[in-house]
Amino acid sequence: MYVAVKGGEQAILNSHKLVAEERRGDPAVPELSMAQIKEQMQLAVDRVMTEGSLYDRDLAALAIKQAQGDLMEAIFLLRAYRTTLTRFGETLPIDSAAMAVRRRISATYKDLPGGQVLGPSYDYTHRLLDFALAAEDGVGEPQAACAERPVEAAVPRVTDILNHEGLIEEEIALNDEVPVGDLTREPLRFPAGRDLRLQNLARGDEGFLLALGYSTQRGYGRNHPFAGEIRLGEVAVEFVPEELGFAIEIGEITVTECQMINQFAGSAERPPQFTRGYGLSFGHCERKTMAMALVDRALRARELDESIEYPAQDEEFVLYHSDSVEASGFVQHLKLPHYVDFQSELQLIRSLRRRHDRDRKEAAE
């Protein structure tokens, strides 16, 4: 019954207490620590940091704990915290070619400078439940064997290798004249530049982007992708403080980068060449970056003079619906009372039915 949502402050406070109780679960079971979440649920932390667009493993772990493991709720918590932070400025672009690589694979070349580094990956695990993990005394301290030689210091990007031959479009050069947009400060406007688009996709819901990326592969906006390269590792973050005037390293972050290589038949002005789709995330979010790269490429349809026929190519459709915080809020606002509107609709439908009955009666007479 609609009126049941009338209820005051006490109901809300009691509801919060119930949540706290459910979050804690059986008090006989030891409470989950933030360190445990941070260390043993790293991929959840990575996703929350990426879509929450705040690189802070501790806060992400706290958000996951507070949200009882509901990652969308955790993302929302992190966003609501992030929005209160002061923006000091922008860092220099990170240099992923200088990444301390932990994983680097290319699907386009068998062997290439820097080599293939499989690194930590679920790709070649057999998805069999590992009951050893369920043992009460845990799994101890598993240790991976050390490689015979270290990863090469220089691991050039596959797209740069292709670039030497001019077979792939040039990366859009950094233009200091045009500041990079920030959609957390300025509203999204259309047509959106690639800077805003990539920001939107980076914050976008993984599931939504995955489905859209998948749709391009199945024929709804096909653009022949190859995973040119996926790399995971640590990169330095550099910032130029105004009072210094030169760049200093302020920290190191883990990122996943995906460079998708796509076909392009060329146009009157441009020779046939490969085009790019790009994906980047905080932490290790491989599925997300691949989906992001597919969608980024699909959204370049207008720029590349391709016909726009499918959802993944439709900028307003994709960018307006990608954000899980916006989508979750608006879908769930249907829980709020709507009884004034509903009452209006009741009045209307009664009036329409009266008119309908009258018309039918008149027709019968």
Partner: protein, 317 residues
């Protein structure tokens, strides 16, 4: 608008007065000024994430947070009522982050934040009403694309909306829109009055108070300055008309208010009460009685499981 806060940090540790940082509030105030200067025009603004979900009033909250000062008194209603959970929650939020005095009395409030209703008591000059807006674009049901909608506003090309209303008349014999009924503001911009029932539309016209509209998820602010013409779309042979009830308020006997239908049992028993809870309580305190008169309060309480005495409405002030 309230005075600038003298003290930056509110009672809530670690957050700025009224939650938003000063830069953000300044940005939003600029957008509000622009919106007031161009009545009915949707001004894009850099909406922030709020600690409440999108769709629950984040736009209205950002507007309120930007204009509220230490001297302001805030009233928050949802569906016309002060005691619905979301209204209670938003009122608690501002009491917490801005230390704002709150009230349920429309006349005592300097700022009224509302969802889905305009209060029955008339507002006066100097007051501000802030509407929570889920979808600021009145043309959206007809044209999903933002780029197209903005062009239509720029060219004042609203034929599509007129055709849609005409199609209703052709199909149903009347305009089948009972809430979010589109209005023309200042003879220039087509505007969504937010999902208020069309019953409330006439109140917006020539309104003495400033009307501000905040859409958080869609990141738009718009405004209707005091004493501005707001006209509900209609046709000469199908003039705009508001909803009417065959009954009066069962509690206070009001004849000209928007009524909520309260289901009393599962056999079709029902009663109608004012959706504006403060208005109804005030009338009862003044001695007005509805047709259920003495038994009404009990019947109402039994139906909604709440205290329906309601005469003492200032519990939080």
């Amino acid at each position: 608008m309230g005075a600038m806060p003298k003290q930056e940090i509110a009672d809530e540790e670690g957050y700025s007065f009224a939650y938003l940082d000063e830069q953000t509030k300044r940005m939003i105030r600029r957008c509000i000024l622009k919106a007031v200067a161009v009545p009915g025009y949707q001004v894009p603004f850099g909406g922030r994430e709020m600690p409440l979900p999108y769709g629950w009033g984040t736009g209205g909250m950002q507007v309120t947070a930007s204009i509220i000062g230490r001297d302001d008194t805030l009233k928050v209603i949802d569906q016309g009522a002060d005691d619905t959970t979301n209204a209670v929650n938003i009122r608690r939020f501002f009491a917490r982050v801005a230390g704002a005095p709150t009230t349920e009395a429309t006349a005592e409030a300097s700022i009224v934040q509302t969802r889905h209703r305009v209060p029955e008591d008339p507002l006066r000059e100097g007051q501000i009403i802030v509407y929570q807006v889920p979808q600021p674009e009145p043309l959206r049901p007809l044209e999903p694309r933002e780029i197209e909608c903005r062009k239509m506003h720029a060219y004042k090309e609203y034929g599509l909306m007129q055709v849609s209303l005409y199609e209703d008349i052709a199909r149903f014999g009347e305009i089948a829109t009972s809430y979010s009924y589109p209005v023309m503001v200042n003879d220039r911009f087509l505007m969504s009055p937010t999902p208020i029932p069309k019953f409330d539309n006439p109140k917006m016209d020539d309104f003495p108070a400033l009307q501000l509209f905040g859409a958080g998820r869609e990141k738009r602010i718009y405004a209707v300055p005091p004493y501005t013409k707001v006209k509900s779309l209609d046709f000469d042979d199908h003039p705009f008309a508001v909803q009417q009830w065959e009954e009066d308020c069962a509690l206070c006997g009001a004849e000209e208010t928007f009524l909520d239908e309260v289901i009393l049992d599962d056999k079709g028993g029902k009663m109608y009460v004012c959706s504006d809870s403060h208005y109804c309580a005030r009338r009862r305190a003044e001695g007005h009685r509805g047709y259920l008169s003495e038994g009404a309060a009990e019947a109402y309480a039994a139906a909604v499981g709440a205290d329906a005495g309601g005469a003492n409405a200032d519990e939080e002030a």
